[in-house]
Assembly symmetry: C2
Homo-oligomer: 491 residues x 2
C-alpha cells in the first residue's frame, strides 16, 4: 500500500506518467527487442565486468542483423557509399570506374551534389527510376511506373505509413487488418498503436507454414461481426516461419482479396533469400498481372522491399522502398503529403537501395567480385538453413519445418506440463520461461514464439540462421543439450 | 453531378479512397513542401524541357536545405563517414589520423564493426556518451546522463515520438499542446495526425517575435475550457521567425510551465545559428538547472537537436538526438519500447551526430581546417542574415525583424484590399496568391506565412537566408521588384 501511495504521489508530481500517457502506446509489444534481449544486454555487460557466467559469450540469434553476426558487406556498395560521402575520392585511382560512375550518378541527383541535401520526400528521382527498372526485370517485363515507388526508412516505415492510411471508423466499423500468425511483431505493434483491429489468420504448420484460403475465410467471417476488415498482410518469404509461398497460393490469395475487397500488403523483403530446392520467389505483382486485367486493373496492392536483408544485410542504413499498385489518385496525393512531413528517407539508405536494384553488370570491372561475394553469402545462408533444420530435427521434442527462405527457423518445442505450470506460476509465457532459462544457462538469445503468435497450447522459438557456420554448429548443439536438460528437469 | 457520380462509382471500386481513408491524415498540412513547392518542381521540369519562362532558374528559398544551396560539407565529417563506410580506407595514408581514430571508435561501437548493423534502439552507446559530454560542456558543467539521450531520425522523429507519448483523453479531456504562432508546421501536422488539440500562442512581432507570458496565460486559460493542456513547445532560435530568446524569457517560461504543470518541449536545432550582436543561445536545460532544485528536480523537459542545421547542414543523413529530463521512469521504459519497434535511427546519421558533438580538438591534425570551415559558414550566414533584413526593409510594404538566429527571415508584407479580394475569389490565402505569383514571375520559391500561422489580417512569407551571397542579392532585388510591381498592380 505504501508503494501504491508513493506511486500516486509521484503521479501527482509529474505531468506525464504511466497513468496519463497515450494508452495505445502502452499496448505496443515488440518481442524481437523485448525483455529477453534487454536481459541479454545486461548479461553482456556483466561478462565484460568479469562476472562469471556458465558461458563465455552471449550469442544473439534473436534478430536478423547479418553484419553483427559477421556477414561482410558487399565491397562495391561500400565503395560507392564512400565515394558519395567524400567525393574527393573520385580522384583516387584505386577505386574502380564503375563505382565512380554510380557515385557520380547518385550525386548528380542530389541537391548541390551532396548526400547532405534533403531529397524529394518520395525519394530521389533517379533511384525511383532504377527501382522501377529492377522490378520490371524481376517480374519479366510487367511495367512499373517510377511514380508508384516511394523510398522509405527501412521497410518498417513503409508498412506503418500504409497501415496509417487505412485506419478509420469506430467500434464495429473500425478498420481490421488481417495478419498471419505467426507474424512479424511490427504488424501487431503498429496496429496496436493505431488502434486498428488485428485479425489473426493461422498459417498451417503441418503443411510447412502454408496459407489456407479456408482459414483466411474463417478469420474474415468472424472478424466481420465486430470490425471492418480492409487489408490483408502477407510476408513472403515468411518471417518468422521461413516458408516460400507457391505461385498457386499467391494466385488464390489475390483472388480472395479481390472477392472480399481487401487491400493487399505484400512484405517481400526476403525476396532474394530463397534456399530450398523447388522453391522460387514469385512477387505478388507479377502474379497479379499474369491473372489478367480483371485483377491487375482493380486489386490494390503495395509491396515492400529493404536493404536490410537478402545478401546485403545493410540494416543500419535504413533503406527501403514500396511500390503501390492501383491506388486511388486522391489517396496517393495524401500519401505524398503525409511522407513530406518527415522530409525524406535517409539519403545514404536511398543510395544503397539504388545499388541493390542496380548492381554491377557483366563487363563492368566490379561485376565478378560482386557475384563472388553475393554467391558466397547466399550459399552460406542456404547451407545454414539446411543445417539448422537438420540438427534441430534430431532433438526429441523439437520439430522444425524446412527453412525454405528468409533468415529464421521457427521450430515447435514440447514443453512439459510441469514446466508450463512453473512458468504460469511465475506469470510468464511457457516459451518465454524456456528461452529465458536458455539465455541464463547458455548465453543464447532467442525470441519466444509467443512474441510472434502461435496456436494456443503450442510453443516455439525464433532463431536466426545468421551466425557463421562454425558458431551456428556450436549454438545448435547447445540448444540441443539445453532442451534435453530442460526436458529432463521438468518431467 | 456526373463527376460526383463518377466519384461514387470509383469509390465503390476501390478499397481505399479519399472518403474511406484515415481522416486525421487528411487534416495534416505541411506548407514547407506544399503546393507551391510542387509547382516549383513542375516549373523546373518545364525549364529543363526548354519551355520559356520569365526566368532562367527556380531558386528554392523555401526550405532550410543548406547543401542544396551550395553550402559545402565539413571535410572532417565526410572523411570519417567515408572511412566508416569503407574501412579499407583506414589503410590509406592520405586520410588524417584523427579522422581514422574517430572512424575506428565508431566502428568498434557497431555490431560486427559495420555501420550495416542495427544499433541499440536508443542509439549507439558511445555516441550517447559523446552527446552527454557535449551537453555538459555546452551547459557549463550541468550533468547529463547518457541514459537520457535518445538518438533520432532527424529532430522531427523525436518531436513526433514525444507528442505521441503525451496524447490521451477524449473531448474536453483531450491532450492540448501549446505551440507558437508562427510555428514550424511539423508541430501542427503531428498534432493533427495524433488528433491532439493545437493551442496557439502568438509571438510578439512588434518586439522582435519575443514570447510574452501574458499571452501564454491567455492561450492556456482559453484552452482549459475545452481540452487538457499538457505540453508547451518552444522553438529557440525561432523557426520561421529567427528570434533568439533572452535568458530572462526562458526563465519566465520555465516558471510558467512549472506553475501550470506543462511538459516542456524545447526545439533547439538552431543552437549554433546565432548571429545578432548581444544575442546568445541559452539552453532550456542550463537555465532550468540554474533556477535551483525546486525547478531542476521537477520540471519535465525534452530538448531536440539535429545534424541538419547549424554549420553542418547535413539534412540528408537524418541525424538527431533528444535529451529527456525528469521523465517518469515507467514512461521512459515505454518510450524505449516504442522506439524499439522501428529498430534504430540510421547509423550513418548517428555517426554524423557523434562528429558534431565531438569535432576535432586543438592539437589534432584536422582542427585548424575544421575551425576554418565552420567559421566561414557561420560568418557567411551572419552576413546573409544582416543583408536580408537590410534589403527587405528598404521595400515599402515589407517590414522585417532582425534575423537574430536560425536560417530564415519572416517579413511582414502589405497586401492591398484589391489583391486580398482577388485571392479570396480564387479560394486562396492572400499570401499564397502573392507567393504563387512571385514564383510564376520570378522563379523564386518562398513559403506563405499562412503555412506557419500568423495573426488574422497580417501576411508574411518565410525565406531562407541560405543562397550564396551573390545569388541572395539578386534574389532580394527580385523580391523587391516583384513586391513593387504587385503593389502597383493591385492598388
Amino acid at each position: 500500500e505504501a508503494t501504491q501511495r508513493g506511486r500516486v504521489m509521484s503521479s501527482r508530481a509529474k505531468v506525464l506518467t504511466i497513468d496519463t500517457m497515450n494508452p495505445t502506446v502502452k499496448k505496443v509489444e515488440y518481442a524481437v527487442r523485448g525483455p529477453i534481449v534487454q536481459r541479454a544486454v545486461e548479461l553482456e555487460r556483466e561478462l565484460s565486468e568479469g562476472i562469471k557466467k556458465p558461458f563465455a559469450e552471449v550469442i544473439k540469434a534473436n534478430i536478423g542483423d547479418a553484419h553483427a553476426m559477421g556477414q561482410q558487406p558487399i565491397t562495391f556498395f561500400r565503395q560507392v557509399l564512400a565515394l558519395c560521402s567524400y567525393p574527393e575520392l573520385l580522384n583516387d585511382s584505386t577505386f574502380p570506374e564503375d563505382a565512380k560512375s554510380r557515385a557520380r550518378r547518385i550525386l548528380q541527383s542530389c541537391g548541390g551534389n551532396s548526400m547532405g541535401s534533403y531529397s524529394a520526400s518520395q525519394g530521389i528521382d533517379s533511384v525511383r527510376q532504377d527501382v522501377a527498372r529492377y522490378i520490371e526485370r524481376r517480374d519479366g517485363g510487367v511495367p512499373c511506373d517510377p511514380d508508384n515507388i516511394y523510398l522509405t526508412t527501412g521497410a518498417s516505415d513503409g508498412i506503418v505509413t500504409m497501415l496509417k492510411l487505412l485506419v478509420c471508423g469506430e467500434g464495429a466499423t473500425r478498420t481490421g487488418v488481417m495478419i498471419s500468425i505467426p507474424q512479424y511483431p511490427l504488424y501487431s505493434a503498429a496496429l496496436a498503436e493505431l488502434g486498428a483491429v488485428q485479425i489473426n489468420y493461422y498459417l498451417n504448420e503441418e503443411k510447412c507454414w502454408s496459407m489456407d484460403i479456408s482459414e483466411l475465410q474463417r478469420a474474415l467471417d468472424e472478424a466481420r461481426r465486430h470490425c471492418n476488415p480492409r487489408a490483408l498482410c502477407i510476408i513472403n518469404p515468411g518471417n518468422p516461419t521461413g516458408q516460400v509461398q507457391s505461385r498457386q497460393c499467391i494466385e488464390d490469395v489475390i483472388r480472395f482479396a479481390a472477392k472480399e475487397r481487401l487491400f493487399l500488403m505484400a512484405d517481400e523483403v526476403y525476396q532474394d533469400n530463397v534456399y530450398a530446392d523447388g522453391c522460387q520467389f514469385h512477387s505478388f505483382k507479377k502474379v497479379l498481372f499474369e491473372m489478367g486485367p480483371e485483377y491487375s486493373n482493380t486489386v490494390e496492392l503495395v509491396s515492400f522491399h529493404s536493404t536490410s536483408k537478402c545478401y546485403m544485410g545493410e540494416c543500419g542504413f535504413r533503406g527501403g522502398y514500396m511500390e503501390i499498385i492501383n491506388m486511388d489518385n486522391e489517396v496517393k496525393a495524401q500519401l505524398t503529403k503525409l511522407v513530406s512531413v518527415r522530409l525524406c528517407p535517409p539519403v545514404p539508405g536511398q543510395a544503397l537501395m539504388d545499388l541493390v536494384v542496380n548492381p554491377p553488370q557483366p563487363g563492368e570491372p566490379s561485376y565478378e567480385n560482386f557475384i563472388k561475394e553475393r554467391t558466397a553469402t547466399l550459399s552460406a545462408l542456404a547451407e545454414k538453413a539446411k543445417l539448422t533444420e537438420q540438427v534441430l530435427n534430431t532433438v526429441q521434442g523439437i520439430s522444425c519445418n524446412p527453412v525454405q527462405g528468409a533468415m529464421y527457423s521457427f521450430p515447435r518445442i514440447t514443453i512439459s506440463a510441469k514446466a508450463v505450470k512453473e512458468a504460469t506460476d511465475k506469470g510468464q509465457q511457457p516459451d518465454m520461461f524456456y528461452c529465458m532459462k536458455m539465455l541464463e544457462e547458455t548465453g543464447i538469445c532467442l525470441v519466444p514464439g509467443s512474441g510472434f503468435g502461435q496456436k494456443d497450447g503450442t510453443y516455439h522459438f525464433r532463431m536466426t540462421i545468421l551466425p557463421p557456420t562454425d558458431k551456428l554448429k556450436i549454438l545448435l548443439n547447445k540448444v540441443k543439450e539445453f532442451h534435453q536438460k530442460f526436458t529432463q528437469q521438468y518431467t
